[in-house]
Structure formats: C-alpha cells, structure tokens
Subunit: 133 residues, 2 copies
DNA sequence: TATACTGTATATATCAATATACACAATATA
DNA sequence: TATATTGTGTATATTGATATATACAGTATA
C-alpha cells in the first residue's frame, strides 16, 4: 500500500513531523479508514529514503495521540476516530494554515488587494492543472 | 527600534530560521531600508526571549546571503538590495507559500469548492479584522 | 522449524539552542 | 587626554533534540 506522502529535505520541519502531519491528514480526511494496515516502518523509510527510527517516531507520536495502533510483529493499524473529531480537527488545522499564510503574505508587504488577486490566480491555476502533474 | 518579529515556540521550524525569514521579509518588502540599523543581537534576543547565539545565527545567515552587514562593536545594518531582486524574491516566496497551502488543504480532504469558500471567508474576515488585533 | 516479515532497543553523529567569557567601538567623565 | 563604562559583535563549551545504523525480539507462514 503506497501512501501519498512526501518529505522535503529543504524544509526546516523535522522529517518525523512531516510524516506525522501527513499521516494524520490521511486519517482525519478519511483516505485511511479504521482498521487499515499502514505500510511497515521499513517499507515507508525505504520509500522516503530516511531511517527506520524516523518513521518509527512518527508512528509512535500518532499512537500517543490515539490515531493509530501498533502491534509487535504484526503491523500498524488505523484506530477508530470519531467523525466529529475528524471534522473539528480538519477545520482547526485548515484555519491555522490559512491564517499563517495571510500573516506571511502581509509581512512580505503585499496589500489586501494583491493578496486577493494572487489567491484568485493561484486557485484558478490549481483547479486547472491539478490532474496533469 | 522595535521590529514586528515574533517567534512561535510550538512551531517546528528552528527559532533562528523564523527570525531569519521574517527579517528577510522586512528587507525585501522595503519596511527596512538600506543602511538602517537593526536591533542589537542582545536587544532582539531579550525581546524574543531567546539566546544571543540564536539571534546571532539569524543575522549571520542573512549576512551570508547579502541582505545585511555586521560591524564588530558598531552594529548590524541593512545592505542595499536591488529593486528587481526584492520583487523577484517576494513573488517567488509568495508562490511557494500559496502552493504549499493548497497542497496541505487538499491533503486534508477539502474539495476545490470548499477551498475556494474557505479562502474567500478568511480573506473577508482578514480585511475586516486586521486593524483591531 | 527455517525464513521472512513485523515492531523494538541501544549507541553514535549531527544540528539547534543555551550560558558565559572574550574582544572591539563609542562615549561619558575625571 | 586619559580611562572607566556601556554599548556593539565574537568564540568556546555544554545540553537537548533530530537522524542514523545496527542489533534484538515478536509473529506469521512456507
């Protein structure tokens, strides 16, 4: 099972955190359903060209947060996450992301109108080009 | 001279990098002009409740990138950055930020229309509430 | 019962952040 | 006009977080 997860070497966020965040997104968005078997830490570390310890740490943090469950020798599985928790988490995370973007763009010196225009343009391009990349 | 710089303790980006990024934004947005004296590494570290070494590292990286210049015993000053470089950097950085947001929102499972609506709403709120915070 | 797959634990290297002592430049003041 | 003081940036040593390789242990299956 190959998951749509990527890590950026140039990002300053820890690799384990990049993995953790994306896996959490896959769970709360429903792309990974309850009981699903996740890739083994070895398979994932090979896929992402990182250490087993790094994928392990991501899994462990998610287990501590109640999103997944690991069983020695068997594998790691998605736990049941209530629909309400999913929705609330999604919206909360989305708000945080958007808010940060607006702050960053303002600090770069863009006006409200410029921000508006850039977002419009980016969205149009995004909708059109998403499936060809 | 108090600069509009903040560091987030919960962010997983290194503190020196948060400072570096925001200072660079202030320079390329023109909010800090050529020759301007930056706060001393001690003043800034005190303001941000971090170590002198951390602010120092941000300044040093910016010096290596040609944005500022430090003089032993005197202080740190903004270097002359060409208008073209400023504009290009601004647009490039903005594009990177927006692209990342769209990717993140998609991974959270939002549809194009939902993303559109969320951004619209956030922008409206942003324009209205910006000056009251 | 061998082997091939799971997750787990230990030790090591590098990066991020810190406190503290050092060196250079401007300035107040005796 | 010395020189003490206070402001700059700089260098060293130490702690904690991040990432790694490698050896260990549990589980399923050929």
């Amino acid at each position: 099972m190959k998951l749509p997860i990527t890590v950026s070497e140039s990002s300053r966020e820890p690799i384990y955190y990049q993995i953790e965040t994306q896996l959490k997104s896959l769970v709360i968005s429903g792309q990974l359903t309850t009981g699903a078997l996740l890739p083994s830490i070895r398979a994932l570390s090979s896929e992402l060209s990182c250490s087993v310890i790094t994928t392990r740490r991501a899994y462990q943090n998610l287990e501590n947060d109640g999103f997944i469950e690991t069983v020695q020798g068997k594998g790691t599985f998605v736990k049941d996450v209530g629909q309400q928790v999913k929705t609330e988490t999604k919206e909360s995370v989305a708000f945080t992301y958007i808010d940060k973007l607006l702050k960053d763009l303002q600090m770069l010196g863009f006006s409200d109108m410029e921000i508006d225009n850039m977002l419009d343009k980016a969205l149009t391009k995004w909708k059109g080009g998403k499936h060809h990349e």
